[in-house]
């Protein structure tokens, strides 16, 4: 197991950090988060074209760069740090990973190149209004009507679900339950029988939608009834990616809060010279560094295809959920009243921390998953 980044990886991170700092200042984040879609297609296509972000973890044959989870982790960490408004997590992380895990060769050839190029934006619809983050919660059904599949059911909390061109949907055979009878399907965003409703999100930088399928035409993705395993694998990698995105945001919050404390004067001295502030900053550093270690370790474990990846993925997500929110709470507190105002940028990350805390499952859920994955019962 490797515990440092290679110099190439560090160079890649440095390039991304500079790029996102220039292209995604908070003025831009604020402008985009006020739009209904939350991002702009042209800007996104250009940005992706210049950095090849969507293909970082996709093999070359499909137009990708053929790197692995460590590099993907670097991309999402830097995006989380700059709060980049883009459909990256939905399309490149969730949908692309699901396709790579589940699809037949021909389908990969057909679908991946346009996603990698950023010409098409996809998402993954699996959770339903019951809010469960596992296969067991899936009630949407798929029925074959003279050779073509039709979907019925409701998906919710679908990331960028209102804007995506292509939706990868997890559905089940009528009468099946649990891990049985699950299949992936693809549905066009504009398909008949599909109604999309944007949900009002606490975190304006992360757009969610509710998708209602009423006999919506769908194409089978991969093998019929065999989606459970690729879905589980997709969720693991998504949790690892999210954990890395989250520690990026947490580290940015921590650094900005430190800069503020160094600059802000109270009682005739910088507040950074108050012992309680120094101890708080030390505690924040510890919590964020521990969460970073867990996130980096999980990404490396994914690259190495470690046997206990499921446990390490849940460990990383649980650690990131606690650390990001706690750091955000401190970051506001350190600024006092200013930190609670709309014009101060801190709340942008606070709200991202809050939605990330529960997205893909909260810390309690992932701690229990970790224990089970390690066989502790």
């Amino acid at each position: 197991m490797q515990f440092t980044f290679t110099s190439e990886q560090q160079e890649y991170r440095a390039v991304l950090r500079r790029y996102f700092a220039d292209s995604s200042p908070t003025t831009e984040v604020r402008r985009l988060m006020e739009t209904e879609q939350g991002w702009e297609r042209d800007r996104w296509r250009d940005l992706n074209a210049q950095l090849g972000l969507c293909g970082v973890h996709v093999p070359e044959p499909y137009g990708g760069q053929g790197f692995g989870m460590v590099e993907l982790g670097i991309v999402v960490e830097e995006m989380g740090r700059a709060l980049v408004c883009a459909p990256y997590f939905a399309s490149a992380v969730l949908a692309t990973t699901a396709i790579m895990n589940a699809a037949a060769e021909a389908q990969k050839d057909a679908l991946l190149p346009s996603l990698v190029a950023g010409d098409a934006v996809a998402t993954l619809a699996f959770t339903e209004p019951n809010g469960r983050w596992d296969a067991g919660g899936v009630e949407t059904t798929a029925v074959a009507v003279d050779g073509a599949f039709r979907l019925d059911g409701v998906k919710s909390f679908v990331l960028d679900g209102a804007a995506a061109d292509l939706i990868v949907v997890l559905a089940r055979a009528p009468g099946s339950s649990g891990e049985e009878g699950l299949s992936f399907f693809t549905v066009r965003g504009e398909a008949d029988g599909l109604t999309r409703r944007a949900l009002k999100s606490l975190d304006p930088t992360r757009k969610l939608a509710e998708l209602t399928f009423k006999g919506a035409p769908a194409e089978l993705l991969g093998e019929l009834g065999k989606a459970a395993e690729p879905f589980a694998k997709t969720l693991r990698l998504a949790a690892i990616a999210l954990a890395n995105e989250m520690v990026g945001g947490a580290d940015r919050l921590r650094e900005d809060a430190l800069d503020y404390a160094m600059m802000r004067v109270q009682f005739g001295r910088p507040i950074a010279s108050f012992q309680s502030m120094k101890h708080k900053q030390a505690d924040m550093l510890l919590e964020v560094e521990l969460a970073k270690s867990a996130a980096y370790h999980a990404a490396q474990a994914a690259a190495d295809d470690a046997a206990d990846l499921a446990a390490l993925a849940s460990l990383a997500k649980a650690a990131a959920s606690e650390a990001y929110l706690q750091t955000a709470i401190h970051a506001i507190q350190i600024r006092g009243g200013i930190g609670f105002t709309w014009d101060n940028d801190t709340h942008l990350w606070f709200k991202r921390a809050k939605s990330s805390e529960v997205f893909l499952g909260d810390a309690t859920l992932h701690r229990e998953r970790m224990m089970r994955a390690w066989g502790h019962r």
Binding site: F267, I332, T341
Partner: protein, 427 residues
């Protein structure tokens, strides 16, 4: 109330009998609000703890509570005595001249004058004594320039309690003076301050050559900090829930012109506070939410709910211990200063528990969110509890220094002239 008063305090029975008799004879829901309040004030029932000379009866808090009780019982309206209005009155009672008391106390109690507090500034959050708003005497007017922030109700206040710097060569605390500033004048601009939860319950107030009459200086010139500490002491009592909050309790919907007038008054006064219950964490919603979502059956969630309830109940009982001691007239124990810090813990714990209970729904707000958006408002409002009215850090300093008598940090006494003290640059 004065020492003498406590010694000669009448019995509870006597007070109850007297106020009841008076209410029988005088209470009439068809009077005008101001008209009725003037009667209460003339009789001294509106502010029973105040001195006899100034609309009161020198009654101890325990007996004043009896008076308020009876006024509520017969469904009568009480005087306007809540919030900043109370801080203004208490400050005037302690530091005002007779002329100032005569001019401002009665119209405050009748509700004709409403107030706002002009202490905090962008450059000095916790460090109130670091105020940089300047007041300069030009001819027979004080000319005020600068900026205040976190001013509740500034947009409809008639008068402001202003802390301004009148001497830049004195040490920080010595250069301040305390004024009453007329908010209705061209030199005063009030702008709402939007918060991360979308509400704008505070204001920024900008002074550009705003004017203050010489007779509206409270206390000594350069003695403003002493006056301000009186205001702050009463504000903290309010925050601790140990202050007299009688005026604040909402009266049940009743008929009569006077009640309509009172409701209109309350509507304006309470408008900035609609989200305050969410800021406090809405512990009251936790159990019904847990039952509605079925999370009440989850042993892990049950533990977190239990921790929250234990914290909230213990905090409530601690406040009641403090009030009980105060009502007994006994010296208040340490429990009195802990309320605000405890409230921060309760609110944060409540936000955690609400998140645990709501799960994925915690990502949604407004009409899509649980409880029609109330849960989301809790989650993005709670961070204000540990900041507003003195951060948790400041509260801990106060508890350590005033309750536990621990020494100040070295270098905390800064005797440089204020103009030489490092300050924040505010844009």
């Amino acid at each position: 109330m004065s020492e003498a008063a406590t010694m000669t305090a009448p019995t509870e029975e006597a007070v109850r009998a007297e106020v009841c008799a008076w209410l029988d004879a005088n209470w009439d829901p068809n009077l005008g609000l101001v008209e009725w309040r003037n009667r209460l004030i003339d009789a001294g029932w509106g502010a029973p703890t105040w001195p006899k000379a100034w609309h009161g009866r020198d009654l101890p808090p325990a007996l004043a509570a009896v008076v308020d009780q009876e006024i509520r019982r017969v469904g009568a309206v009480n005087v306007a005595r809540a919030g900043v209005r109370n801080l203004a009155a208490q400050t005037l009672l302690a530091h005002g001249t007779d002329a100032q008391k005569a001019a401002f106390l009665r119209p405050s109690l009748t509700g004709e004058y409403s107030w706002c507090q002009l202490f905090s500034e962008p450059g000095s959050g916790s460090d109130l004594a670091g105020a940089m708003t300047r007041a300069e005497l030009k001819g027979n007017r004080w000319i005020v320039n600068g900026q205040k922030v976190w001013t509740t109700s500034a947009h409809h206040a008639d008068w402001g309690l202003l802390l301004a710097r009148t001497n830049w060569d004195a040490q920080k605390h010595q250069g301040l003076s305390y004024f009453l500033l007329n908010m209705h004048q061209p030199g005063v601009e009030v702008r709402p301050l939007r918060q991360m939860n979308g509400h704008a319950s505070f204001n920024q107030v900008f002074f550009t050559d705003a004017e203050v009459l010489p007779e509206h200086l409270i206390g000594e010139l350069g003695g403003g900090w002493a006056v301000a500490t009186t205001t702050l002491m009463h504000e903290r009592r309010g925050a601790d829930g140990t202050g007299a909050a009688a005026g604040r309790e909402p009266s049940a919907p009743r008929q009569g012109r006077i009640h309509d007038e009172e409701r209109a008054e309350a509507a304006v006064a309470n408008e900035p506070y609609t989200w305050y219950p969410q800021r406090a964490g809405r512990v009251d919603l936790v159990l019904e939410r847990a039952k509605a979502t079925g999370k009440i059956d989850d042993p892990v969630v049950r533990q977190e709910i239990a921790k929250l309830l234990i914290l909230a109940r213990s905090a409530e009982w601690t406040a009641r211990r403090a009030r009980a001691a105060q009502v007994q007239g006994r010296p208040q124990g340490p429990e009195g200063s802990l309320g605000k810090l405890a409230a921060s813990h309760v609110a944060r714990a409540a936000a955690r528990v609400h998140t645990l209970i709501s799960g994925a729904d915690a990502m949604l707000s407004g009409a899509d969110g649980p409880e029609d958006g109330i849960i989301a408002e809790i989650l993005i409002s709670v961070p204000a509890v540990s900041i507003a009215g003195g951060t948790d850090e400041i509260q801990r300093n106060i508890i350590a220094e005033r309750v536990l008598r621990m020494p100040k940090e070295p270098g905390s006494s800064d005797d440089r002239p204020f103009r030489d003290v490092p300050k924040n640059v505010v844009g």
